[in-house]
Homo-oligomer: 407 residues x 4
């Protein structure tokens, strides 16, 4: 999968693609059917591997059929029933029983989000490692500090890297705190259909509880009360994704500045080319990462507006707004994650340029002189204050995040 | 083309699809090459129909290749040069000369937007017609007015329809005012390369002017000064699209309310089904239209944030944010346009229910009594005020918009 | 009026302040009462200058009282009636008759927006003048072009200014196209109360029409059909304001880059200071303008989300979202307008630095060589292409916008 | 404090008002000065209660003065120095030493946010209590479930309440997880000035560490590494506030629907009035809560866009965008918190109407029949499934959140 208008999209591969979502929808229906049988609610003959019944070739039919009822589960269930029907009438009769469309779609979306979240977490961990090494290496590399675009007092490149690292660690925290819950509630969130079907068992309520727990395990999602109209799992995921793009956007904007030829404190080893000037080396990865950071907040805000617009036992449009928005947000987050990692990999640090800019900067020691005057002493030293200690603090946090022994 | 997670997306067909955009990119390069030759800048042997050199099969390669330089034009031009190279060295040598990637991409995007805009305009015009008929038909159909969810004084369904119609007319105005400009500026917006190439002609500047004008005509776009970093064409298009979804969202929210079973003043003839309750008739089209209206403002805002972040002669991420955002916004607008038209087509008005609700509503005449008291007279009449005249005012505007003689 | 957390807010003075809005509310009620009397609907004794009845001292009471009914018009009308009551019973009896809260609030907001819009337009015009002079002056001042942060081919500072100017002209166009309509519809938008009251006249409908027209003239707003739930006037105003901040944000981001000490192609004569480094000269005005451009798109998007959420004859929250959002957006636009003008006034251009950077930039002539090679000639000239001519095109547009004879 | 255009704003009182922020700024400077003295860095004579030096009367001067340098700390420090100067030269000499404007402003904003956060948390806890009682009371009150606006299978009002409660608990979790950190970094985040000043002590780095820790305790904020350009504390607070308005918006939208006269399953005891129809009872609190939920996501998104735009050691506009945005977001959250509590207090449940609507709803048992058919039995019971058990699950979570023994 690729997207001509979002360069790098291929990095997200089939994550949350239509095919992946279709696959997840079928896996949800299969796992549920299996749970019904295992719980003794449906007969063993109902068992069936639904994955053999549909394929990517059915995508267009299901997608087009989704419009009439407003979601793709309705035509998919029809298709599955029709295809299972002849040879496996029990499968056709029992599949989807007890569920509502939203159960299937929400669960499948969470399933499809899971590998995307894991991929981003893995990238974040690698970035924590890379940034930690970079901060440690440049713990004492002096450079000019800049505030409101102008030269201020000196700082170190290590400290700057540690501000990027703090953001990446914050993003890692946020993403780690995200739970991906299963959705099982039935038509109005009461589980009435499951309980009714479980009427043949000794304790229908207990059977229902065990069945839904088994189903959650089977699809690899967290157990949860129905959240048909309480959309925190979606907004929290969206906010966490945005905390990632915030951190990367910050980093990218610094890189885009420091690789400018007039500054040249950083370089990119694999600068992208130009259609007209072959020798030009553009910090393309940083450009593309910054791009994502400009778009993500709006997608997350869409999820919040939808969450707040929840109504009834299933919303009248707000729910439908989420699906494609969440997919776009997560795919872009995955792409930006990899592009940030690539950017870091190809980043070159030019301490000489940093030293030269610091040397050339006028007045960066004026504050130091004022402080020394206050004490009635002469200014001495490099005026880097606690920079190295502050770097260490962030490195310690990074070590803990990576589960390493403290330094 | 379809999208499993945005039901109805197939209605937008191939509009702004990757294939369409690739095709537009190639058409831009072809038209430019032709203009170079026609202007006597490039030799006749440079002429070539580039469309035969690439196809949808090349999409993945171009898309993946787009990441290195940050946009798809760079790998596309390489591909075109490589393929033209052997048999048509002059074509290979001259294609893209004078242009920069952004010229090609911006022009191609505007070209790809054009049929989408035309489609939406056509739908808007049909809606104006349908809503005009509906408003005229129900010019005097009384119903209870509702404010802050509670019953207020009476109104007419025709007047309510006229408020929808006003929004649709506003959207039509906004979309009609949108210009889709060509982009030709060269590497830094100075047209330096074209002027340099035109050095062989008598008046290079004049040649350049004529050439770019001919190019604009060839690709069907408006002439414009380079707008590499002045992104009003994009934001204006985004705002106009959002004015469409605003109008439809308003209409859809009213329909979603009035088709509720407890109110039943409107009905939908083709209500969508349910995966668990076959007899259920959902106002699916309205649900899907409302969905679009919740998402569009955020996409338009993304375009504004990008516009304001313009810098240098080509921006460092803001430009790249626009492409996929604009595509998504326009495709959703097309889909919502058709779904709104379908919704209107299947809308059923139940004047009896309207009358019954009005009858049942308590206190809707209290204001009338207060007004009559003020005059010292007895209240008479249906208390519909100027409702019919207000409908007529909007119908007149609709007639003008459709270019019809006034009523 | 000032805002500690939005430096420069005092520039907007009392525009759209609570006092101004209260004043506008009272002026609306006064104008309406006068119109009722003038039309022969209310008796002459009803006439009254309501402005003498309330003052800024009543603000808190009205503001607190606004919560019960959800808007400030309800407590204001109560207050006016109570105060007018004794001496002027006819005034008390007739004021507000025929109107609904939304008529008064929407009309008053449009009235309060008007001087803000005019102020911004005036600033835009001054900026057009200033930018035109700057572009003309530097029509041939060469500087290095930059794309994706890296050096590209040469351009001129005049051409860069003309891209800012184009954005400012676009904003001027957008703001000029905005109409500020009056709102008169009565409780459900039917004008029923007015028509009922006008029952004493020969032709109540005609009386109503004349009365509302006279009212519109009196409050200085455009006539319009009721737009209680068709919120285009608000979204269009919001979009136009955002087109302003887009243009200024673009300009400010360029200034923030070019005034960096490592580049130094521009300077600011009145750079702001620092709390710790007295000698530091920050491009504060540009910082504050950029600030506004990051915030405005989200406020405009809020207006769109609200517009799309319209329902019934008065919305259940969407309408209420607009008021403070629109006020904040417009005040910030006024502040940014003045700060942009101040920024332009203090901008210093350093052609020597521009020349030096261009000289130092490697490879900026590589494209020129490639073009010359294609023609089989030697590259000559400054490779500025049509830069000067493109500047002239924008200057011509500016002249037309200012109503000046073409150059 | 009140806001004519955001009814209910007075509920937030002076929280985050200009006066409160000014007070917090002064308390930050005072606490810092005290910490300098206590650490033995500044002489005892430097001690001074700065709060006596400025008052609300100075607000306009500070606010206007804030524009030149871009933030209010610069003029405030000047003012404090000037006023302390004569009688307390040591105070004037030492105050603000070691800090940068951003340290003071960020710390003061976090201080000013704290009581707002605590207030919202308290309201959330009360809502948890009230909703728990409501859910328990109506654990078995049947009503018709509604999906996509149409009648679905039965549910209970208790279960609906538990979906609101889940959202409120999620919001409480989010807000509880928010840390409000102190900001101390000095001009470029290195703490260089403090370390320089602490040069007179035995171990300047340790002194600095102790001093900043003491300062954090004094202002009641969490210790933290400098976060000048890593803005997670701000975005996380914004996201948490939005999770609150999401939860309340959901609740309000349900209330706005169910109090419609045609449905009447809920009522509001203190319905707001109308300026024209005195007897009208509007669910005003719900309207105003919904209003906040439409606006908040955009404000939170603004904070994310700003966070991602961080650059250098202090950003060039992004930082400045946050202050007023965060204030507005938090004040609106406080107001919506109280309005939601008020709404819940005045909510009236009409089980008879719920029963009547359920009775009248056609086909709500069709799914039950289908399930029973599948099992080959007759449908029995109320088809409420696990509704009561699901309510209990949420009530248990609520008990834990309130620190109560489980039920």
């Amino acid at each position: 999968m690729s997207d001509l208008l979002w360069p790098g999209d291929h990095r997200a591969g089939s994550l949350l693609s239509d095919v992946s979502v279709l696959d997840a929808l079928v896996r949800v229906e299969t796992a549920w059917l299996e749970a019904l049988v295992a719980a003794g609610v449906a007969p063993p003959a109902a068992r069936g591997d639904l994955a053999t019944l549909v394929s990517g070739d059915d995508l267009a039919e299901v997608a087009v059929g989704a419009e009439a009822g407003g979601n793709p589960v309705i035509p998919l269930v029809e298709l599955l029933r029709a295809r299972a029907g002849g040879p496996h009438p029990e499968t056709a009769a029992w599949l989807h029983r007890g569920l509502t469309s939203q159960d299937v779609l929400d669960s499948a979306l969470m399933m499809a989000c899971r590998p995307a979240v894991l991929r981003v977490q893995e990238e974040l961990r690698q970035q924590v490692g890379r940034l930690s090494r970079l901060a440690a290496e440049h713990r004492s590399t002096p450079m000019v500090g800049r505030t409101l675009t102008q030269h201020a007092v000196p700082t170190t490149f290590g400290l700057k890297v540690s501000t990027w690292l703090s953001g990446v660690l914050d993003a890692h925290d946020a993403l780690t705190a995200v739970a991906l819950p299963v959705q099982v509630g039935g038509a109005a969130g009461t589980l009435a259909a499951v309980v009714e079907l479980a009427g043949s068992t000794a304790d229908p309520l207990r059977t229902t509880r065990d069945l839904t727990a088994a189903f959650a395990r089977a699809v690899g999602l967290a157990e949860a009360a129905p959240w048909h109209t309480t959309r925190t799992p979606v907004t929290r995921l969206g906010d966490a994704a945005t905390s990632c793009t915030d951190a990367w956007g910050h980093l990218a904007r610094d890189v885009l500045l420091l690789t400018r030829p007039e500054i040249g404190e950083l370089g990119v080893a694999d600068g992208g080319g130009s259609s007209t000037m072959p020798g030009k080396q553009n910090p393309t990865a940083a450009v593309l990462v910054r791009r994502a950071s400009l778009a993500a907040p709006h997608l997350a805000a869409t999820l919040h507006v939808a969450a707040a617009d929840s109504v009834d036992e299933r919303s009248d449009g707000a729910w439908h707004t989420e699906w494609a928005t969440l997919r776009t947000l997560l795919r872009r987050t995955v792409v930006a994650a990899e592009q940030t990692s690539a950017l870091l990999q190809h980043l070159r640090v030019h301490p000489d340029s940093m030293a030269a800019r610091l040397e050339a900067a006028g007045g960066v020691r004026s504050e130091q002189r004022a402080m020394a005057d206050l004490r009635g002493v002469e200014p001495t030293g490099d005026y880097l204050g606690a920079a190295a200690a502050l770097v260490d603090t962030v490195l310690d946090r990074a070590d803990r995040a990576l589960g390493r022994a403290g330094r």
